[in-house]
Amino acid sequence: MKSDSFNPFAMAQQQFDKAAEFLNLDSGTRELLRWPLREYQFSIPVRMDDGKTKIFRGFRVQHNDARGPSKGGIRFHPQETVDTVRALSMWMTWKCSVVNIPLGGGKGGVICDPHNLSQHEQQQICRGWIRQLWRNVGPLADVPAPDVMTNAQHMLWMLDEYEAIVGEKSPGLITGKPVGMGGSLGRTEATGYGVMYTVREALKLMNVKPENTTAAFQGFGNVSQYALQLYQRMGGHAICVSCWDQKDQTSYTYRKMSGISFDELMSIVDRFGGIDKTKAKDLGYEILPGGAWIEQDVDILVPAAIENQVTAETVQKISKKVRIVAEGANGPTTPEADKVFEDRGVFMIPDFLANAGGVTCSYFEQVQSNMNYFWEKDEVLGKLDIKMTSAFSDVSDLAKKKKLYMRDAAYMIAVSRVAQACRDRGWV
């Protein structure tokens, strides 16, 4: 969303077209999968704290549910567009497919900025979103989850509204709920850990030990935080992380060449993952421009903020030392930048594989919620690791066998599974 001309949905379609070509899909299947099955756009009127009424625009897009109920987050973002939501819902379809969980792809959002909304106002948006959509979501139809600037509290408000409307308890409606209220242990860490499980496997393929690597992270939200934590526990040396500064309305890169510390940074972040610049400086961090993370001389880059960050322009700034790019965010790399990575032989772990830990754990949460029986954290993370590692192996094996770029291999696996499900159902 940095550039006005960037259209994530066009990019998602372009990526799909390439996979469809590889797979030689028929025109009907292509047309079906290029577009969402269903889209909902609606207004949410909210009585604000000052007594005035404000109308928020909401979305829900269900890209494909041939393999199971749609699954995808709800984003609260001031620059939300339907095309962003469409793209993200399509990526969710591929993501669920590549990790082989029985779910389809969906995504939702509301154009709003929670930074400027009271808790009460946010609650009204959440309840309004459900009032508009309760007929179209549900444990067996479409299962929302937290995403950009939404959290467990938002999910609980939505669930509460849903249960009030349908008149029964239905914890499987939504995932990302607080632990103890239908949430799963391990969900907070799942996406970030999932990213690092795939990085670990990539390093094994390269016969490189994590302790002999350095990494730079973009973003310091949930995904980046836990990816950084596990990376450090694996022995890796992270040297910088970039982060949005709400007060200055810009992002900064916080660098410490001797190694940044997860625990240290967590002690100076606000609830949105914003790092306190002054405290960071006191702790010896260099404060660099927001884009500096991409220029670092490291082995591993982890873009884990928002889409469209590694472009034809910014990819040129990437050090030749970089061997792995693990996309913690959805759609951070444009097709032009992908081409550069492919030419350079950079090992790409594409978004819908790298960050699939979140949806995989959401799937576990849904299973637990539907049973109303909850697992220990060891069980959740153990299963998550196995799922992620298996998915990585499927993709890397195919990439090696067919000499494919990792993203292309991941798309081939994901799209072919969904296409097959559509055929099996007789849709195409």
Binding site: R200, L230, R233, D378, E379, L381, G382, D385, I386, T389
Partner: protein
């Protein structure tokens, strides 16, 4: 990280027989170091042609290195828990079971659980065990799990619970107290964990090896013509728990495998034979994760006969002519004397034990104690495998002290014995703790253990080594047979006299873990059964100044140190005022 090269855990290949892989960094602990030594320096040197009927190997195992323990403790803030000294062991275990294992290891454990469907032993392998060269046998927990359920979730849960239980045992009261006697802080201890396949066979919801055993390089209890350096072997049917916890087992010199133990009669031998054995319970087990023996079952010998395993280890008593015949073809009471192995020399078991003992001693550089198991295919051709399970160094003193038989008979001796362990002269002991013979009862031996522990705690804190005198078998798990103390409960004793009273006719302490600790700590050990020609001068003891007295135990302080001489080569020792 480790002195021996181990293989990093690999989800695809970790199951290969005899491999030792590791997860995480840091130390792999003392026990795992011993096994790595076997893998690198013993197994490759085995000339299999010398052992035609037994193939020698090690069970597949994976070690969780101490870094994972550190992370587990830190991530779950468990040091806050263990610093609360008022917590009971079960409360500590509960907190540990509630905690989560580090994220970077659970995937590997899950993969292991998904692939392996075989009972597993989850063993401690502590840093101090490695660093201090101190005896730690039996100080920490070992948990065996069946790990055979069709449900991988169930297998995984039992595995992770067992690991956490072993971690928790680092801070159990026994362990903490024991560590303090080594002048270390329990906080400094770190635990690696060995996940080892249990070897054996499964039948009738039981899984166990036909034979478990311990062989020691040095035998402090001689009988017949055997010399100390001939070593000693203890064998039992089923899991090794019988041997290492001092249960009834068959003990013999590997140089004289045909010699029976010195029982007075066949009846005495029968009454002291193994009558039950331990196995991993493959049947339904009530959920009890705080119990170290949760998945173990003690079975009668009839069960082994039903399983087809007894035939390899037992003989039969023929009452008509008061004879023992090898095997179980005849009707009559069974005697687990391993005659089919030792007398009929099936499989060349004793030759294998002697051969492997020598190889292991050479690899370790001094005397050792080895735990092993033997599995035999009970159907068809009896193919047998010898499995090395653990190896530990023995610390044997070789300095020369002579005690003649005449000296043993001197009238000013407070105690003397011809069955003594240890070696050297000790002239520093002024504290004596002894059970009061007049009030001894085998029905309250747990209480006696507790009283001994309390005194030990005080004397260790004061830094006073002491002489301890007790009745019955020390370290036994069978309370009527003696005092069920763990080593740590009496760890401050520098010299121990184990004696007995008329009417209590038990073989004195031979429990491997307890014994190993006695030997390794270089504790002087006197065995003076009531039938011995030597005795203890109780009158003299009762005349000494009493410092404290409880229901069963008296503690006296001497004005002058005792003069204690132990002739390790001849197994003689005496104590004078």
């Amino acid at each position: 990280m480790q002195q021996h090269k181990l293989t990093p855990f690999d989800r695809q290949t970790f199951e290969s027989t005899g491999t030792i892989s590791f997860i995480g960094s840091g130390s792999i602990g003392g026990k795992a170091q011993g096994l790595a030594l076997v893998k690198d320096l013993v197994i490759p040197k085995i000339d299999q042609s010398l052992l035609p009927s037994l193939s020698v190997n090690m069970p597949t195992m994976t070690v969780l290195a101490t870094e994972l323990f550190d992370e587990f403790m830190a991530e779950n803030r468990l040091y806050d828990v263990v610093h609360d000294e008022s917590l009971r062991d079960d409360q500590i275990a509960h907190y540990f079971l509630e905690a989560s294992l580090p994220a970077k290891v659970v995937g590997d454990l899950r993969a292991l659980s998904n692939k392996v469907r075989n009972p597993l032993a989850i063993r401690s392998s502590s840093l101090f065990e490695d660093a201090l060269r101190e005896p730690f046998a039996g100080v920490y927990a070992t948990k065996m799990i069946p790990h055979h359920s069709e449900d991988p979730d169930y297998r995984f849960r039992a595995l992770t619970e067992a690991i956490k239980y072993v971690y928790a045992s680092t801070f159990f009261r026994d362990a903490r107290n024991y560590i303090r006697t080594t002048h270390q802080s329990p906080d400094q201890e770190k635990m690696a964990v060995i996940i080892q396949k249990v070897v054996g066979f499964g039948r009738n919801y039981r899984f166990y090896p036909v034979i478990s055993g311990v062989v020691r390089s040095y035998n402090f209890y001689r009988s017949g013509n055997a010399k100390p350096e001939d070593g000693i072997v203890s064998l039992a049917l089923g899991l090794g728990k019988t041997v290492v916890e001092g249960g009834k087992c068959w003990t013999y010199s590997p140089t004289f495998p045909l010699a029976n133990p010195p029982y007075k009669s066949i009846k005495a031998m029968l009454s002291d034979t193994q009558t039950s054995f331990w196995a991993v319970n493959l049947g339904h087990v009530p959920y009890d994760p705080l119990n170290e023996a949760e998945y173990l079952i003690q079975c009668p010998l009839e069960a082994a006969e039903q399983d087809g395993s007894l035939q390899f280890v037992a003989s039969t008593y023929i009452s008509d002519n008061d004879r023992i015949v090898t095997g179980i073809n005849a009707n009559g009471p069974r005697l687990v004397n391993f005659a089919p192995m030792l007398k009929s020399n099936q499989l060349g078991l004793n030759d294998a034990i002697r051969y492997l003992l020598k190889l292991s001693e050479a690899a370790e550089g001094h005397e050792i104690e080895m735990e092993f198991a033997v599995t035999i295919n009970t159907e068809g051709d009896p193919q047998a495998k010898f499995w090395i399970l653990q190896i530990r160094p023995m610390f044997v003193s070789h300095s020369r002290v002579d005690v003649s038989v005449d000296e043993l008979l001197e009238t000013d001796n407070i105690a003397a014995s011809e069955r003594v362990l240890g070696n050297g002269a000790i002239n520093t002991i002024r504290d004596v703790v002894f059970q009061k013979p007049q009030v001894f009862t085998d029905k309250e031996s747990w209480k006696i253990a507790s009283e001994l522990e309390e005194l030990n705690h005080k004397l260790v804190a004061m830094g006073h080594p002491y002489l301890m005198i007790t009745f019955g078998r020390l370290g036994t798990t069978d309370p009527p047979a003696g005092i069920p103390v763990s080593w740590w409960q009496v760890s401050g004793a520098k010299v121990i006299i184990e004696t007995s009273l008329p009417g209590i006719d038990v073989e004195l302490s031979q429990g491997s873990h307890f014994f190993h600790n006695v030997i390794s700590s270089q504790v002087g050990y006197f065995s003076i059964p009531h039938s011995s020609r030597f005795s203890i001068d109780w009158d003299w003891l009762n005349r000494q100044t009493t410092v404290s007295e409880t229901e069963f135990v008296r503690y006296v302080k001497l004005s002058m140190p005792l003069r204690i001489k132990i002739d390790g080569r001849n197994g003689r020792g005496l104590i004078k005022a």
